[in-house]
Subunit: 239 residues, 2 copies
Amino acid sequence: MPGRSPRASSRDAILRVFAEHVADRGYADTSLGDVAAELNLSKGTIVHHFGTKEALLREVHVAYFARRFAEADFVHAHLADPVSRLVAMVYALLAAHRDDRAASLACLRELVRYFDGDLTDYVRKQRVRYTEIVVDILRAGVGRGLLRTPDPQMTALQVFGMCNYAWTWYRPDGPQSVEDIARLFAHNVLAGLVTPSGDDRELDVLITEAIETVRKAPGRSAAGAPEGGNPAEPVPTAP
Amino acid sequence: MPGRSPRASSRDAILRVFAEHVADRGYADTSLGDVAAELNLSKGTIVHHFGTKEALLREVHVAYFARRFAEADFVHAHLADPVSRLVAMVYALLAAHRDDRAASLACLRELVRYFDGDLTDYVRKQRVRYTEIVVDILRAGVGRGLLRTPDPQMTALQVFGMCNYAWTWYRPDGPQSVEDIARLFAHNVLAGLVTPSGDDRELDVLITEAIETVRKAPGRSAAGAPEGGNPAEPVPTAP
DNA sequence: CTTAACTGACCGCTCGTACGGTCAGCAACA
DNA sequence: TGTTGCTGACCGTACGAGCGGTCAGTTAAG
C-alpha cells in the first residue's frame, strides 16, 4: 500500500504506538521494526520522520512534560490554597497513569536514561522544574503555617515517589479508582498514619530507636560487595 | 591468564559485576561480553556457570530478596510495636539503596520484567510476600488503635513507593544521610504534613475539591490516544 | 514539476548462545 | 611414587538473529 491516505502524515500515530511499546517493554526492548509493522508502515518511514530512535523518545518526553506543566498551571490558576494545590498535584500525577498511560509509563520507565547525558539535558531541566513546582507549594504552605516539614525538597521527592511508583502496580481495571487512591494518598500524607497523641517528641524517639535497631541487622548487603556505609560495630544478635 | 587462581570459582564475582551493570545500565543494555571483560573472563565462562542471561538476573533477584526477608525477620524479632516496625521497614528499604546498592537498583529497575511471565513467578511471589509483611504491620497497628488507615494494602503500596522510588534520586554522596532521609520520611508518614487542626472532615472536603478541579483541566492526555477514563462526570464523594 | 511521504532491499554491528577443546587439580590404584 | 582418568573452570570461535540506520527509488498530492 503505497502513498497512503491523502497527505496524512503518520507522525502522531508513530509517536503514539512507540510510546505504548516503550511503556510495555521498555526503550531498549522496543524495536522500530515492530512499531512500523503495527502501523503497516516501513521502518524507513519512522526514520524519515524522526531521524533516530532516541529522538522519538525525546519527543514523547517533551510532549508528556508539556501536558504536565499545562496541568500544573491549571492547578495554580484554579486553586489558591497550598494544601489544595498539593492534593491536586498528587491526583494529577496519579491520574496521568490512567489518562495519559503510554507516555507516563514510557517516561517513568526511562527516567534514568537521562542521568548520564544520553539525551539532551533539556529533559533533565524539565524534571527539575516540575519538582520545583511541588517544592514551591510546600514552601508556601510552610510559610503560611498550613504545612510543616523541615525539608520541602526531600518531602517533594517523597510525594513524587509514592505517586510515580504507582506505574509498577496500578491497573486501570483494578478495584479502586484513581480518585479513591488519590483521596487515600492525600489523606495519609496530610493527616499522617499515626493516631494523634499530641506528643511529637515521643515519635522522634521511636523513629530513632527503630533506625538504630535495623542498623544492627546482619547480612543486609551482598557478599563481597564493596558497599559504602554501615560500619555497624560487631553487635551481638541480642538476647 | 588461563587457569586462574586455584579452584576458585568466579561465580560470585560474575554475579556481583552483573548486578552492578544492570543497576547502572538496565538489564537490556547489559552485555555479558562487557561483564566478562571487566572480570578478564570469557563470555563462555559466564554461560558455563549460569546458562542464560535471564538466569543471572534471577539469581541476583533471589539473593536480594533473601537479604530483605532476613532483615524483615530481624525487625520482627527485635521490635514489637507496629509503629516501630513500620519505621524500621521504611529505613531498611532506604538503607538498602546504600548498603546493597547494586542488587537493589537491579531489582527495582527490572521489577516490571516479571510482570509478563518472562521469568519464574517465584520472584513475583516473593514480592507479594514482602508486601504482605508491611500490610500486616499496618493491620496490626490499626487493630491496636495505634495507626489509622482505611486501606492497609494501598497504604503499604504508598509506603513502598516513596522508599523504592529513591533509586531515581538518591546518591550516597548526597547532602543527607540515609538516616536523615528515613527520619524525615517516617515522621511525615506518621505525623502528616498538615498542621493539626483537629478537623478531619474539613480535610476530606478540601481533598475532594482539589480532585474535582484537576478533573476539569483540559489536554491532560496525549492527542489521539484511546485512553480510558475521565469522562469528567461528577464523582460521588464517597461516604 | 516539486515536494514529501513512503518503500524495501540492504549494511554493519552487537548480542546471546552453542560448542569443541584446554588445562589444573585431585583421587584411586598399582 | 607414578600413572591414570575424571571433574569442572575456562577459553575462543563461530553462528544466527535482530537491531538501528542508510539509500535509491516510487508514488501521489499540491
